[in-house]
């Protein structure tokens, strides 16, 4: 499948950025080290072999047992028509990552959604506030340990 | 041929000066009640017709449950409006909120006074009827503006400001078109304007000039009536309900009534100025045909012509989309106004040189 070839190509080209020892044992797409993350995204957008000019999607997965969040970035290239999923592993007790608003403008809204539902904070975000829930809502619903009075227990 | 001459009708008006206060009051009251009855019945009929016409354009049936084929639908709507609760916003300007629907309806009432239904049926025949009409119909603009302002609602305010700019601009084109026709008819008296078309209607007697004046008057009057494509003040898709959002019950009914009475009055003015008013359709030479046409009472002729104009206005309303505010103002100030000014100059040239038909 084209995704695996692409993944290997990216992993081989940007070897210093790729994280080898992820806490979550899932054989999947490219996982990037948190410290080198924003420059990787800038490079991969401008790289003439890949040219990922659309940030299709940004979401997060909460691994409460391993104490990490996986931030998922789904990139698409309109010129080559290939896509890749880039992951970043973020510790659960300090979920801070830098924003990608300067690289793809839509990141502003997608990061607001992830902040609203997961509580992940973004450095240098111009307008970080809740988007779906009210401004004074307490808690982050899509985390696995979220409880409130409206939920029905099975 | 029936002799339509204004001298024959002079003896119908009582010129004696010794009427008591009681008679004067009675006279005024009877006019008032007649107008009221006429407006209510007329508006009910026209609302029903509008709904059926709209349904025909939209490939559906329209009201057909209340009464035979839905005739009593308007009566049901009227009863509903009469029994609704009157809600006034808390911070609104109470006095202005109260009187603005009354301004609209009184403007429409007052213009009804000079409408010539037939040579015998007219409430008052002032010597400057057309001028009176154009002056009094502007009161409606004030009503709309005050309604939007006093509602304490930003959307109503936007709609009122739009209405003010639109209605004031299009007044100019209307007045200029009317003036162009007055150049031809040489009188402001409404019955005399109708009688001046005994030899033929002005719309084809004045060929190009009156045709242009007719088009400009028609477009400007649709703008004055707040009908689509000029219904920005009441832009239903943008503003909810525009300047009459905060009105309910009888006050809303007043705005509604005023709109339909204005529709009737404006169509009547179009018919009087351009299409011959209550005069029947004659073909010169065919005396049998002419006598047949004469036997139909003149009020039927007027209502027939007015209903054709109303149908065309409704047709345009249900077909076209709405203009944006700057397109609207541009249309008036850059196209209609210069054209009507040039038209007026051309009209005076024509009249001075007797270049129209049937001088």
């Amino acid at each position: 499948m084209i995704i695996s070839i692409l993944k290997d190509a990216i992993a081989s080209k940007y070897e210093s950025f790729v994280m080898q020892d992820s806490k979550v044992s899932i054989d999947t797409n490219v996982i990037i080290k948190l410290s080198k993350f924003p420059e990787f995204m800038q490079l991969i957008r401008d790289d003439k072999d890949f040219k990922f000019d659309i940030l299709l999607d940004h979401t997060a997965v909460d691994y409460i047992d391993e104490n990490v969040f996986h931030l998922v970035y789904h990139l698409y290239s309109s010129s080559y028509n290939h896509q890749v999923i880039v992951l970043v592993e973020v510790p659960r007790d300090k979920p801070v990552v830098s924003t990608l608003c300067n690289i793809w403008r839509i990141a502003e809204w997608q990061e607001r959604e992830v902040f609203d539902l997961f509580g992940i904070l973004y450095n240098n975000h111009p307008d970080l506030r809740r988007i779906f829930l009210e401004d004074d809502w307490v808690g982050f619903p899509l985390r696995k340990n979220y409880k409130d009075n409206f939920m029905l227990e099975k | 041929m029936i002799n339509y001459s204004l001298d024959n009708f002079a003896n119908l008006v009582d010129n004696s000066n010794n009427s008591t206060v009681f008679e004067v009051v009675f006279y005024i009251l009877s006019i008032f009640i007649t107008c009221l009855i006429f407006i209510s019945i007329f508006v009910m009929v026209v609302v029903y017709i509008e709904r059926k016409v709209a349904a025909a354009f939209q490939c559906r049936v329209g009201p057909n449950r209340v009464g035979w084929k839905g005739i009593l639908q308007s009566v049901a709507d009227l009863l509903k409006l009469l029994t609704k609760e009157k809600i006034t916003p808390l911070y609104s300007d109470k006095f202005l909120h109260f009187i603005s629907p009354m301004l609209c309806i009184s403007a429409s009432f007052m213009t009804l006074l000079i409408v010539p239904f037939s040579p015998y049926i007219q409430i008052i025949n002032i010597d400057m009827g057309i001028l009176y009409w154009s002056a009094v119909s502007s009161l409606g603009i004030l009503g709309i503006l005050l309604a939007g302002w006093s509602s304490y609602n930003k959307w109503s305010l936007i709609s009122a400001v739009r209405a003010a700019s639109q209605l004031i601009s299009y007044e100019l084109s209307i007045i200029l078109s009317v003036l162009t026709m007055i150049i031809f008819t040489n009188t402001l008296n409404i019955q005399k304007i109708v009688l001046s078309q005994l030899n033929g209607c002005w719309i084809w007697r004045g060929h190009l000039v009156t045709l242009i004046a007719f088009t400009i008057f028609f477009i400007a009057s649709i703008a004055e009536l707040n009908k689509i494509p000029f219904d920005l003040p009441e832009g239903e898709s943008e503003l909810g309900a525009g300047f009459h959002t905060e009105y309910s019950g009888m006050q809303f009914a007043f705005f509604f009534l005023a709109e339909y009475v204005n529709l009737f009055i404006t169509s009547t003015i179009i018919v009087i100025l351009f299409l011959g008013g209550w005069l029947p359709w004659h073909i010169s030479g065919f005396s049998i045909f002419n006598e047949l046409m004469d036997s139909i009472p003149p009020i039927i002729w007027l209502l027939l012509k007015v209903s054709i104009i109303i149908f065309v206005i409704m047709w345009i309303r249900w077909t076209l989309p709405r203009l944006r505010i700057d397109h609207l103002i541009l249309l008036e100030w850059k196209f209609l106004l210069p054209t009507s000014l040039a038209n007026m100059v051309l009209a005076s040239f024509l009249v001075l040189n007797n270049l129209y038909f049937y001088v």
């Binding site: 999947t28 999607d57 979401t59 028509n81 839509i106 | 939209q58 898709s237 077909t319 989309p321």
Partner: protein, 385 residues
């Protein structure tokens, strides 16, 4: 490290205090109930007279937590939930989830299933676009096209109801096939409908597209240049109007799209007029696709697995995307091998299309905002999920 969390009130008051407002600037609320925001979408507009200075869209009025619910239902039940997002073309949403599951399990479906799925997806696209056209006319002030658009959609709804059983939330395309086989007079009715709709589209073009009022109100309004469109994450007709030929039906073929001939419609400027006529043209292309397919539906089963088998995806991440009538709908699943997904996420096209309005509509008037929102073709439950 600069993270500053704000609330909406703060933003409004902040702008208040800066005091470099002109004398004619004011805030107005185009509230959740409004005739032309296509659902419960709220805009806070900062206006100067009629010119818009700033738009702040406020979402969440119909946020139902579909992704959270998805973590406690099975995969087959999640297909029901996707119906409720973009309800004008719900069968296409079902296909997105089914495609993800089939790719993850390496499930092969037969040609009959794929052909039926393609036909129904194109039917839903036509339904969505006729409805959009009607609503577009209504937003612009012409109330008649609304009835025509609804009537054309209604014919298709009754055809679809015969097969799927319901009129709005069909729940038809399942992982492994389609829920019911097509009924006997489906093909005949579809052919009648194609004959019916083709001349109507020409008539509708004469009514709205050739109307100078519509042209003046949509030309050069809401221009979205192609670099900005890419950066704003727009997809679907919005992106194609800006000149980027991205259509997943061609680029990432699924169903039987690679076996039919159709063209991808691309605009030039990215204004509202381009977004408008592209959708009219897409309707014609969809009719072509259906016409090529409807006579040659191969024989076979309509479901390759049993409906009651439990679905468990392998551990890991799975995703796939579909081109809906409004853009790219993506489904992203993080699975831990259980019956319910560990995390399931819908990349909704309308959510990403909506944000470009904060840039497009600045400097235009309120009437233009209505036009732009109408040509973006938003469905708010899909924005809020």
């Amino acid at each position: 490290m600069t993270i500053h969390l704000k609330t909406l009130n703060e933003i409004l008051h902040n702008l208040d205090e800066k005091k470099h407002w002109g004398t004619k600037e004011y805030f107005i609320n185009m509230g959740p109930q409004h005739p032309s925001t296509h659902g419960v979408l709220r805009f806070v507009l900062k206006l100067e007279g009629e010119i818009i200075k700033e738009i702040i869209p406020i979402l969440g009025y119909i946020h139902r937590g579909i992704e959270k619910i998805g973590e406690s239902v099975s995969y087959r039940n999640f297909v029901h939930l996707t119906d409720r997002c973009d309800y004008f073309s719900s069968i296409i949403n079902n296909w997105a989830v089914s495609r993800t599951i089939e790719q993850a399990l390496n499930m092969e479906t037969n040609d009959r299933i794929e052909t039926i799925r393609t036909i129904f997806a194109e039917i839903q696209r036509i339904q969505s676009h006729t409805m959009w056209w009607g609503v577009f006319g209504m937003d612009l002030g012409a109330f008649t096209p609304f009835f025509y658009g609804f009537r054309d959609r209604e014919f298709l709804t009754s055809i679809v109801e015969e097969t799927c059983g319901s009129r709005l939330t069909m729940n038809y395309i399942q992982p492994g096939g389609v829920l019911y086989d097509i009924k006997s007079n489906f093909i005949k009715r579809i052919k009648q409908y194609i004959q019916y709709l083709r001349p109507r589209i020409e008539e509708y073009e004469k009514l709205i597209s050739d109307n100078v009022i519509v042209q003046k109100r949509t030309e050069n309004i809401g221009i979205l240049p192609s670099e900005k469109a890419l950066s704003f994450g727009s997809t679907g007709p919005v992106l194609r109007a800006s000149g980027i030929p991205l259509d997943l039906r061609k680029n990432d073929s699924y169903g039987v799209y690679d076996k039919v001939k159709f063209s991808v419609v691309i605009g030039t400027k990215g204004d509202s007029w381009d977004r408008y006529w592209i959708r009219i043209e897409e309707m014609r292309q969809s009719l072509n696709i259906i016409e090529q397919l409807v006579d040659n539906i191969p024989a076979g089963k309509h479901m390759v697995t049993k409906y009651t088998t439990k679905i468990k995806l392998p551990v890991g991440y799975h995703h796939s995307s579909i081109e809906t009538a409004r853009g790219i709908l993506g489904i992203f699943v993080a699975s831990d091998g259980m019956e319910n997904p560990y995390r399931i996420h819908m990349r909704s096209p309308n959510y990403n299309n909506l944000w470009s309005i904060t840039d497009m509509a600045v400097g235009l008037k309120i009437s233009d905002l209505v036009t732009i929102v109408s040509t973006l073709d938003l469905i708010i439950p899909d924005v809020d999920r």
